[in-house]
Point group: C2
Chain length 215, copies 2
């Protein structure tokens, strides 16, 4: 049993609403003992980086288009994060698949949020595919990242309804509202050493002082 992670890097590719939820939680003291020490992106224009700077958190960009191979990009990302000494990674709308080249630097320390109830609808178009399938319930999944696409052990899930008149943006907004509550709670629980993983089953232990609440 190694010590739980405390220093989190958050990676995002776009607007970064989940990054904002984490920064807001940190600002109001709801993330401790976890700390967001750096926000990174593969997209130098990602608004997520602006959100970090506005919160006084270091922001770095490693443009994947500047690297010939996925491996070179991942090496550069690990190197750019290194000065901030993160011991865990949160993927919060990070749209690059990461290989073991990156993941091996943070074993069982990379978590992702995905806009579907995995194992349903993995991949980059989860909401559109859920609508096309005609589901009436979808949701958000926070999970450990392994070398599969959206395939690692599930930490937590929240369901949301899909209504007949919904467009993708309606469903996305409903899922994001769940993610914005769930992701900071998971990061805190991880830093508190309350998350354990055996095979595919993840357990979140209750807080000692708050044993009726899982998060």
């Amino acid at each position: 049993m190694t010590a739980p992670p405390r220093r989190f890097a958050v990676l995002a590719s776009g607007n970064g609403t989940n990054v904002q939820a984490l920064l807001d939680a940190q600002a109001r003291g709801a993330l401790a003992p976890a700390e967001i020490v750096v926000v990174g992106s593969n997209n130098p224009g990602a608004y997520a980086l602006e959100r970090a700077r506005a919160a006084g958190v270091p922001a770095i960009a490693v443009d994947h288009k500047a690297y010939a191979t996925r491996g070179d990009f991942e090496d550069a990302l690990v190197a750019a994060l290194a000065p901030h000494a993160p011991d865990a990674i949160v993927l919060a709308g990070f749209m690059r698949v990461l290989t073991t080249r990156f993941l091996d630097a943070f074993p069982l320390r990379v978590i992702n949020t995905h806009p579907a109830l995995l194992p349903a609808f993995p991949g980059a178009h989860a909401i559109e595919e859920a609508l096309a399938a005609g589901v009436k319930v979808t949701g958000a999944t926070v999970h450990f990242v392994d070398a599969g696409v959206d395939a690692g052990p599930i930490i937590a899930q929240r369901a949301v309804p899909v209504f007949a008149a919904d467009a993708a943006d309606d469903v996305r907004a409903r899922i994001q509202a769940e993610e914005h509550a769930l992701l900071p709670a998971i990061v805190r629980a991880f830093a508190e050493g309350r998350i354990s993983c055996e095979g595919r089953r993840v357990t979140i232990a209750p807080r000692a002082a708050d044993a009726d609440q899982l998060l």
Copy 2:
């Protein structure tokens, strides 16, 4: 637009708790204008048949083991139901896959309840597979039956949580509680002509006198 179905046959293979939920709804007047006109099983010993007899509803058994082929069994099942003149079928824990041989007798008039949030975990071991996958949310799906396994258009879904200490029976009980509420409401809505299906998207129209409720 054909007239909506009114006369429902319910098929089950075992204990029949969903059959009981439908019979109970009928007894308290909550199923009309739908009527359960017959309960059938492929298993002559199914307790679902006892439940039907106790409620004064005809019960029939067509033992699949008595037929050399799946097609022969399905023909016999259609023939045994025919005297009761059902115009729709509810599969409520019916453990035989039905082919177009049966389904073509009731086009878009066969509905099934499945103990998972389809398209996740189709097949006969949905709850066990969901637990093995480590999901934190699963649920119940009521859907139209087509020639695929648990693959037809989804009518309604309800989510239930999965807790760390859960065994399969714990999850099953939670799912059945949702099914017992959902399935009678769907049958009634179907008989009221409020369910429509375009491609894979199913819409349940609100009741005229109760427009804030979908069911």
